[in-house]
Assembly symmetry: C2
């Protein structure tokens, strides 16, 4: 299995590491910035390039792991004569962006991948989509090798999943940050909230989130809600967020 990696960021790094573990051969790494391509290529004895015209046309798999906005440019400049499977790794990009290629697909890792945090790739759910049944067969084998949690999903499902991942990951994290700042402003250690953060994430591992909902909104405890809104009066954006999320909880109160 010969692989060309297009991209040199977090996602490209983690794919490279996992491909290497599987004994797949990374033959080439492309990046707009030659130095970045070289840094990654060196670790796997691959060739580095910053010129899409020099991409090896004989690999089995081309993994486009660049930022979403850079995918069209890479796709346009990559030779259409490629016979291998061309995939991107984006959650929010339609498969049709790769329609110029004979065989195309998606390998979407549903995880917040950070460069310097070790990630067990085999535990990351990988959403797989392919342009044809035969391409799906080939891609499915690769996906199953990469991760124990590969699953098929179409572009619309992938978008729903991507939005959901942003909500549970990026948006939970900014809520943590808003609390972090409020704790700091009141000379309180954020550590006090760490058990409750862990507990909240743990509770939903076994049951629907709403079944574990606690707090003033689900209790219809308007006295407390008003005390909180009053406390937040000097932070109007947070006050608004408080009101809207409280409303969403309230809507589900009597179901």
């Amino acid at each position: 299995m010969k692989i060309v990696l297009l991209g040199s960021g977090n996602v490209a790094n983690h794919f490279a590491l996992r491909f290497d573990q599987l004994g797949y051969q990374i033959v080439q790494v492309y990046s707009r910035h030659k130095a970045n391509a070289q840094a990654l290529a060196l670790r796997f004895n691959a060739i580095a390039t910053d010129d899409l015209n020099t991409v090896d046309p004989l690999a089995d798999l081309y993994v486009i792991a660049v930022s979403d906005e850079a995918i069209p440019e890479v796709a346009v400049h990559l030779s259409n004569d490629i016979n291998g499977i061309v995939v991107h790794t984006s959650g929010a990009t339609d498969l049709s962006i790769l329609q110029a290629f004979m065989h195309s697909g998606v390998l979407y890792p549903v995880q917040s991948i950070s460069k310097n945090i070790e990630t067990d790739f085999t535990q990351i759910p990988i959403g797989v989509e392919a342009s044809s049944t035969s391409t799906m067969e080939s891609l499915w084998k690769i996906a199953k090798a990469l991760s124990h949690r590969a699953f098929e999903c179409n572009s619309k499902q992938r978008m729903a999943l991507h939005v959901s991942a942003v909500i549970v990951n990026n948006f939970s994290n900014i809520l943590y940050q808003l609390s972090y700042e409020m704790m700091q402003d009141n000379n309180l250690s954020f550590e006090l909230l760490l058990p409750i953060i862990q507990e909240t994430a743990k509770k939903v591992q076994n049951k629907p989130p709403i079944d574990g909902q606690t707090g003033p909104a689900i209790r219809n405890d308007n006295i407390t809600i008003n005390k909180h809104l009053n406390f937040l009066r000097e932070n109007p954006p947070l006050q608004t967020i408080y009101q809207q999320l409280t409303l969403e909880i309230a809507k589900r109160r009597d179901k």
Copy 2:
């Protein structure tokens, strides 16, 4: 150490269990509903009552663990002649609500306590406030026995902490639920999001949340943001929440 518990809900239950572990004697349990008082009292050989006039005046500690809106009523009907320490367990209620008593204070457990989930009480941070230095001395000993994570905090800090706990717990949980519903609507298993939920909660255990922020908002990736907003066009409340949390992330982008 003789204790009277006023309340029979989740918090009262968990305090009772922990007091019993410590060898403290629960002499009486009060609840508006006699049957509830009896259910809890039975387990600890305590007397049950639904009449505040019959509360034992000779206990060392009175723990008011009722809903926030019921605290004033309990406080008003409890005899002012009590010489023991009267505490409430609320995050959002000022200590001054207990000013009629000689010795008063707060034992606020910073945790989402659910009746049927086993909780290691010793790991729950307990915010301690007291009406005087001498009361603080007594209460501090009790708090340190209850939990390894007791800490002093005044009423304003406690309110900040309570709001923060609502944000990281109740609001993260409703975000999980909004995602749960979106996943269901698209025939996707919520299980796919469980690793990312765990990972997000885990990342903030060691560093400020903003340092681990990922996603389109922190990348200033407006293409993806607009795709998401378009995807959410049939769910205006969620679209609004998406915009506001994205804005909060964006504000912190260049810091």
